[in-house]
Symmetry: C2
Subunit: 362 residues, 2 copies
DNA sequence: CAGCGGATTTACTACGTGGTAATTAGCGCA
DNA sequence: TGCGCTAATTACCACGTAGTAAATCCGCTG
């Protein structure tokens, strides 16, 4: 069994409580005593027992991060950023994969992740119809990338609509008029505030603003959002015989698949078809051609989400603070797939679409 | 505060201990009592307190997974598989990122991850010189992807040498003779058993077996192994003016970068240069051209690693069981970058290079 | 030198659970 | 009806920590 405070106390000739006081940096510990205890700690290699601490204090120092799948580059990079942000604050992160299982997601929202102080949750199957579930959540929770309207929960998300609009406006600025979009979700009425619908809305807004008539046949439904799905959708689009000179894929993963399908079909990117994605995953600047994208400010999202969660944890479970909503700033990254250079430099820095942070009443 | 056994016991008119017995499926609980308790549990929404359990039993039900960075696709996909394998066994996974920090890695090996029952560790900076550290490890530990020779620790790894050899043999079978390799590590004497050196060894063996003289200038040193680094190395190789008709990149990440650099330079893959990587990350089959690779059996590695770790945990800390070594089977996946088809079908199924599992004496 | 007040240290306890051992209930059989 | 045995339930306690409140120490004043 590991070394305990009791043993340290024996060596340092103090009470266990004094050891506790030293470990927790309490005031009013005599410097000599502190030194003696610290030496004993070093000598024995004492490390606090987290379970006991958790039992005593009700805190575990661990937060949960729930995502659909880590193998999707976007979530992997998000997890990377979240873990880094949590580490800065001395927190560990338990990563859970829900794999698009709705039951799992509901169960998680109902009970939380065991062994954690709070949860960052990036749901895939929840929607507005599940708003009521949020009312019964009795643990610190911050939702990621999804804004369930009116839910009494903190959200950290992106400017989905305006960023998507900016992406399509960029394509329009290249002179493209027949712009397809890949990644709409099927009959998604329950998730009107989901990323798919929001980005589609941005797409439509951009078309409307430019006076381009919308062609529903160019809005391709795809779920899930794996690269293969993007490739399949692009192939179907090509085979459909519809005319198009640009594609906006709702994620970079889809975009990678689309680039592949276009290449297979002999369509030149960007000359025949310009492509822009969304998420700015790492690999996008190294594909051939490199993929234009929307950088959603991942580091900012992670940092803000962890910070909000920590606040909720510190406020305590019962506190009825109003829900907050934070939308990270985004950038349009123009790369070769839409006529830019290899690496792509930020073109539009957009905090234009409203203040980055707003507070809603819960 | 959450519902406790005491409250459940009060409702069910039994003692707290009986609730405990029900929760833990003890024998000798009367069916009627069990039913009553279960109803009380449902009624109150009781959930066991993990901290208290951990304190009492010394187990947390959480394992740690330490990798360099989740944003590297290989580690993200590994983490995905590990989390899935752990979930099957009811375990949660705390993911830690060491970011190539040697001090961090040593610290981790010395103390373990707090709050966990054991650790899966994929080190980046440790080497044979750190073997002694392993002797003092006093928690369940399974090393991933790295075999520190003679360490008293379980390892789950790949057939690095023979898989690399198979990759290069594949290139040779295409008639290539000037085969470059990207990803050697600089002066890596302390990590003679590290993946880099092992794969380089496989490369050299393949050349030797084919009677091809080795050209040290074709062995490009690159660290770390991000795609950009692969691109840089390939660019330097091209600029060096050296003649080469194939590249073996020690990881797919490097390979993606190399494809990019070759494309930029106008070299046609595979006609001018055939390329094969290692790891078979998801995106490799969707690049243009799709990237040939070695599939190291990630699911098998994750499954085996978790299973070994669980065994160690169940054996208890003091048990001096011998270290075990498991090498997963691998496959050569031939795709367009070395003359195959888009998707690539397993070409060589290789358990040829020894039994998949061996046991060493610790 | 007694007395005071703040600084420092300590005893005691509870957090929620589950092991141990002891107690009680229930049943068959004489 | 009473005994013996197993099934079922319980009391008690410890796991390691930290909050609370009480005890002790120390330097100084009068």
């Amino acid at each position: 069994m590991a070394v305990t405070m009791r043993e340290v106390a024996a060596i340092a000739r103090v009470s266990p409580k004094t050891v506790s006081n030293v470990v927790n940096d309490h005031p009013n510990v005599h410097p000599d005593t502190r030194a003696r205890v610290q030496q004993a700690i070093a000598e024995l290699g004492y490390r606090p027992n987290h379970s006991a601490r958790g039992l005593r204090s009700g805190r575990t120092g661990v937060i949960g991060l729930a995502v659909p799948e880590l193998r999707q580059a976007y979530f992997a990079e998000l997890a990377d950023a979240v873990i880094a942000a949590a580490a800065k604050r001395g927190l560990s992160v338990i990563v859970g994969q829900l794999g698009g299982d709705r039951e799992h997601e509901i169960e998680l929202l109902t009970h939380g992740l065991p062994q954690t102080d709070g949860l960052l949750f990036s749901p895939e199957r929840l929607g507005t119809e599940d708003r009521d579930l949020l009312a019964y959540v009795d643990f610190p929770l911050v939702m990621l990338g999804e804004w369930i309207f009116g839910g009494p929960t903190d959200h950290v998300t992106m400017h989905n609509i305006s960023a998507a609009r900016a992406a399509v406006e960029h394509l329009i600025s290249l002179g493209r008029r027949r712009i397809a979009v890949i990644g709409a979700h099927p009959d998604d009425e329950t998730r009107v505030m989901g990323p798919s619908n929001l980005r589609i809305q941005g797409y439509r807004e951009a078309l409307a603003a430019a006076g381009i008539e919308r062609d529903p046949r160019l809005e391709r439904v795809v779920a899930p959002w794996h690269p293969e799905d993007g490739a399949d959708a692009a192939r179907q689009l090509i085979e459909s015989g519809l005319e198009f000179d640009a594609i906006f894929t709702l994620t970079d993963s889809l975009g990678l698949g689309a680039l592949r399908a276009l290449g297979e079909a002999g369509r030149i990117v960007p000359d025949d078809v310009a492509v822009i994605g969304f998420d700015n995953i790492t690999i996008s600047h190294l594909t051939i051609p490199s993929l234009s994208s929307i950088d959603p400010g991942r580091a900012e999202i992670a940092e803000m989400a962890v910070s909000m969660l920590v606040e909720r944890i510190e406020w305590g479970a019962g506190s009825a603070r109003p829900a907050r909503l934070h939308k990270a700033a985004f950038d349009v990254i123009v790369r070769e797939s839409s006529g830019g250079t290899a690496s792509g430099t930020p073109k539009t820095s957009s905090r234009k679409s409203g203040a980055p942070a707003q507070t809603l009443n819960g």
